[in-house]
Symmetry: C2
Subunit: 96 residues, 2 copies
Protein backbone atom coordinates (compact mmCIF):
# COMPACT_ATOMS: atom_id res chain seq x y z
CA UNK A 1 0.00 0.00 0.00
CA UNK A 2 1.76 3.15 -1.20
CA UNK A 3 -1.16 5.54 -0.74
CA UNK A 4 -0.30 7.54 2.40
CA UNK A 5 -3.75 9.02 2.88
CA UNK A 6 -5.46 5.65 2.71
CA UNK A 7 -2.79 4.18 4.98
CA UNK A 8 -3.44 6.87 7.60
CA UNK A 9 -7.17 6.19 7.49
CA UNK A 10 -6.49 2.49 7.93
CA UNK A 11 -4.21 3.05 10.89
CA UNK A 12 -7.01 4.99 12.58
CA UNK A 13 -9.49 2.20 11.81
CA UNK A 14 -7.07 -0.36 13.22
CA UNK A 15 -6.58 1.71 16.40
CA UNK A 16 -10.32 2.01 16.89
CA UNK A 17 -10.84 -1.71 16.24
CA UNK A 18 -8.27 -2.59 18.90
CA UNK A 19 -10.06 -0.29 21.34
CA UNK A 20 -13.39 -1.94 20.46
CA UNK A 21 -11.96 -5.43 21.07
CA UNK A 22 -10.54 -4.49 24.46
CA UNK A 23 -13.78 -2.75 25.47
CA UNK A 24 -15.77 -5.81 24.45
CA UNK A 25 -13.44 -8.07 26.43
CA UNK A 26 -14.06 -5.93 29.50
CA UNK A 27 -17.81 -5.87 28.88
CA UNK A 28 -17.96 -9.67 28.73
CA UNK A 29 -15.93 -9.93 31.94
CA UNK A 30 -18.64 -7.89 33.64
CA UNK A 31 -21.59 -9.72 32.11
CA UNK A 32 -20.01 -13.02 33.14
CA UNK A 33 -19.72 -11.69 36.70
CA UNK A 34 -23.38 -10.64 36.49
CA UNK A 35 -24.31 -14.12 35.29
CA UNK A 36 -22.51 -15.76 38.21
CA UNK A 37 -23.96 -13.26 40.68
CA UNK A 38 -27.52 -13.82 39.50
CA UNK A 39 -27.11 -17.59 39.39
CA UNK A 40 -25.79 -17.68 42.97
CA UNK A 41 -28.76 -15.66 44.21
CA UNK A 42 -31.39 -17.27 42.02
CA UNK A 43 -32.19 -13.84 40.60
CA UNK A 44 -34.24 -13.82 37.40
CA UNK A 45 -31.83 -14.03 34.48
CA UNK A 46 -33.62 -11.67 32.11
CA UNK A 47 -34.81 -8.14 32.81
CA UNK A 48 -36.75 -6.86 29.80
CA UNK A 49 -37.28 -3.42 31.38
CA UNK A 50 -33.52 -3.04 31.81
CA UNK A 51 -32.98 -4.08 28.20
CA UNK A 52 -35.52 -1.51 26.99
CA UNK A 53 -33.76 1.22 28.98
CA UNK A 54 -30.38 0.19 27.53
CA UNK A 55 -31.71 0.34 23.98
CA UNK A 56 -33.43 3.71 24.46
CA UNK A 57 -30.30 5.19 26.03
CA UNK A 58 -27.96 3.90 23.31
CA UNK A 59 -30.26 5.08 20.54
CA UNK A 60 -30.11 8.58 22.05
CA UNK A 61 -26.32 8.45 22.42
CA UNK A 62 -26.08 7.26 18.81
CA UNK A 63 -28.15 10.23 17.64
CA UNK A 64 -25.89 12.57 19.57
CA UNK A 65 -22.86 11.01 17.86
CA UNK A 66 -24.54 10.95 14.41
CA UNK A 67 -24.52 7.17 14.34
CA UNK A 68 -27.57 5.37 12.93
CA UNK A 69 -29.81 4.50 15.94
CA UNK A 70 -31.22 1.44 14.15
CA UNK A 71 -27.72 0.11 13.57
CA UNK A 72 -26.86 0.82 17.20
CA UNK A 73 -29.86 -1.14 18.39
CA UNK A 74 -28.87 -4.04 16.11
CA UNK A 75 -25.35 -3.78 17.51
CA UNK A 76 -26.56 -4.00 21.13
CA UNK A 77 -28.75 -7.00 20.28
CA UNK A 78 -25.77 -8.66 18.59
CA UNK A 79 -23.75 -8.24 21.81
CA UNK A 80 -26.63 -9.37 24.03
CA UNK A 81 -27.07 -12.51 21.93
CA UNK A 82 -23.45 -13.37 22.67
CA UNK A 83 -24.00 -12.71 26.38
CA UNK A 84 -26.92 -15.14 26.28
CA UNK A 85 -24.75 -17.73 24.55
CA UNK A 86 -22.10 -17.32 27.27
CA UNK A 87 -24.69 -17.74 29.97
CA UNK A 88 -26.27 -20.87 28.60
CA UNK A 89 -23.82 -22.85 30.76
CA UNK A 90 -24.89 -20.85 33.84
CA UNK A 91 -28.39 -19.69 34.52
CA UNK A 92 -29.04 -17.57 31.41
CA UNK A 93 -29.14 -13.78 31.82
CA UNK A 94 -30.22 -11.56 28.99
CA UNK A 95 -28.75 -8.15 29.50
CA UNK A 96 -26.40 -8.05 32.48
CA UNK B 1 -33.28 -1.75 41.56
CA UNK B 2 -32.18 -2.04 45.19
CA UNK B 3 -29.27 -4.47 44.60
CA UNK B 4 -26.14 -2.30 44.87
CA UNK B 5 -23.75 -4.90 43.46
CA UNK B 6 -25.88 -5.51 40.39
CA UNK B 7 -26.37 -1.77 39.98
CA UNK B 8 -22.61 -1.19 40.03
CA UNK B 9 -22.09 -3.87 37.37
CA UNK B 10 -24.77 -2.26 35.25
CA UNK B 11 -23.23 1.19 35.54
CA UNK B 12 -19.96 -0.27 34.25
CA UNK B 13 -21.77 -1.97 31.36
CA UNK B 14 -23.52 1.32 30.52
CA UNK B 15 -20.21 3.20 30.57
CA UNK B 16 -18.61 0.67 28.26
CA UNK B 17 -21.61 0.72 25.92
CA UNK B 18 -21.39 4.50 25.64
CA UNK B 19 -17.68 4.20 24.82
CA UNK B 20 -18.49 1.54 22.18
CA UNK B 21 -21.12 3.76 20.56
CA UNK B 22 -18.77 6.76 20.37
CA UNK B 23 -15.94 4.59 19.01
CA UNK B 24 -18.26 3.15 16.37
CA UNK B 25 -19.41 6.64 15.40
CA UNK B 26 -15.78 7.64 14.88
CA UNK B 27 -15.02 4.46 12.94
CA UNK B 28 -17.90 5.11 10.53
CA UNK B 29 -16.73 8.70 10.04
CA UNK B 30 -13.41 7.30 8.86
CA UNK B 31 -14.83 4.55 6.65
CA UNK B 32 -17.12 7.13 5.04
CA UNK B 33 -14.06 9.29 4.32
CA UNK B 34 -12.36 6.20 2.88
CA UNK B 35 -15.39 5.54 0.69
CA UNK B 36 -15.36 9.10 -0.66
CA UNK B 37 -11.59 9.01 -1.16
CA UNK B 38 -11.70 5.74 -3.10
CA UNK B 39 -14.68 6.84 -5.17
CA UNK B 40 -12.95 10.10 -6.18
CA UNK B 41 -9.85 8.23 -7.30
CA UNK B 42 -11.61 5.24 -8.85
CA UNK B 43 -9.69 2.98 -6.48
CA UNK B 44 -11.01 -0.56 -6.16
CA UNK B 45 -13.64 -0.56 -3.42
CA UNK B 46 -12.79 -3.93 -1.86
CA UNK B 47 -9.41 -5.17 -0.68
CA UNK B 48 -9.74 -8.80 0.41
CA UNK B 49 -6.08 -8.98 1.50
CA UNK B 50 -6.63 -5.99 3.81
CA UNK B 51 -9.73 -7.65 5.23
CA UNK B 52 -7.82 -10.88 5.89
CA UNK B 53 -5.12 -8.93 7.73
CA UNK B 54 -7.72 -7.10 9.82
CA UNK B 55 -9.37 -10.35 10.84
CA UNK B 56 -6.10 -12.09 11.69
CA UNK B 57 -4.96 -9.11 13.77
CA UNK B 58 -8.23 -8.79 15.68
CA UNK B 59 -8.36 -12.53 16.37
CA UNK B 60 -4.90 -12.25 17.94
CA UNK B 61 -5.87 -9.16 19.97
CA UNK B 62 -9.00 -11.00 21.13
CA UNK B 63 -6.91 -13.96 22.31
CA UNK B 64 -4.65 -11.58 24.22
CA UNK B 65 -7.72 -10.07 25.90
CA UNK B 66 -9.37 -13.48 26.52
CA UNK B 67 -12.21 -12.64 24.18
CA UNK B 68 -13.52 -15.39 21.88
CA UNK B 69 -11.71 -14.96 18.51
CA UNK B 70 -14.65 -16.44 16.60
CA UNK B 71 -17.00 -13.91 18.17
CA UNK B 72 -14.52 -11.15 17.38
CA UNK B 73 -14.38 -12.17 13.73
CA UNK B 74 -18.20 -12.21 13.61
CA UNK B 75 -18.18 -8.78 15.23
CA UNK B 76 -15.80 -7.35 12.60
CA UNK B 77 -17.89 -8.83 9.80
CA UNK B 78 -21.03 -7.32 11.38
CA UNK B 79 -19.35 -3.88 11.29
CA UNK B 80 -18.01 -4.36 7.77
CA UNK B 81 -21.49 -5.30 6.53
CA UNK B 82 -22.72 -1.95 7.83
CA UNK B 83 -19.82 -0.17 6.11
CA UNK B 84 -20.85 -1.87 2.86
CA UNK B 85 -24.43 -0.76 3.37
CA UNK B 86 -23.25 2.84 3.90
CA UNK B 87 -21.19 2.72 0.75
CA UNK B 88 -23.87 1.37 -1.50
CA UNK B 89 -24.73 5.01 -2.33
CA UNK B 90 -21.09 5.71 -3.19
CA UNK B 91 -18.81 3.28 -4.89
CA UNK B 92 -18.91 0.35 -2.46
CA UNK B 93 -15.84 -0.32 -0.32
CA UNK B 94 -15.59 -3.40 1.80
CA UNK B 95 -13.19 -2.71 4.63
CA UNK B 96 -11.99 0.88 4.61
Amino acid sequence: MSDDTLERYRQSIDNIDAALVFMLAERFKITQAVGRYKAERALPPADPAREDRQIARLRQLASDARLDPDFTEKFLRFIINEVIRHHQTLQPTMTG
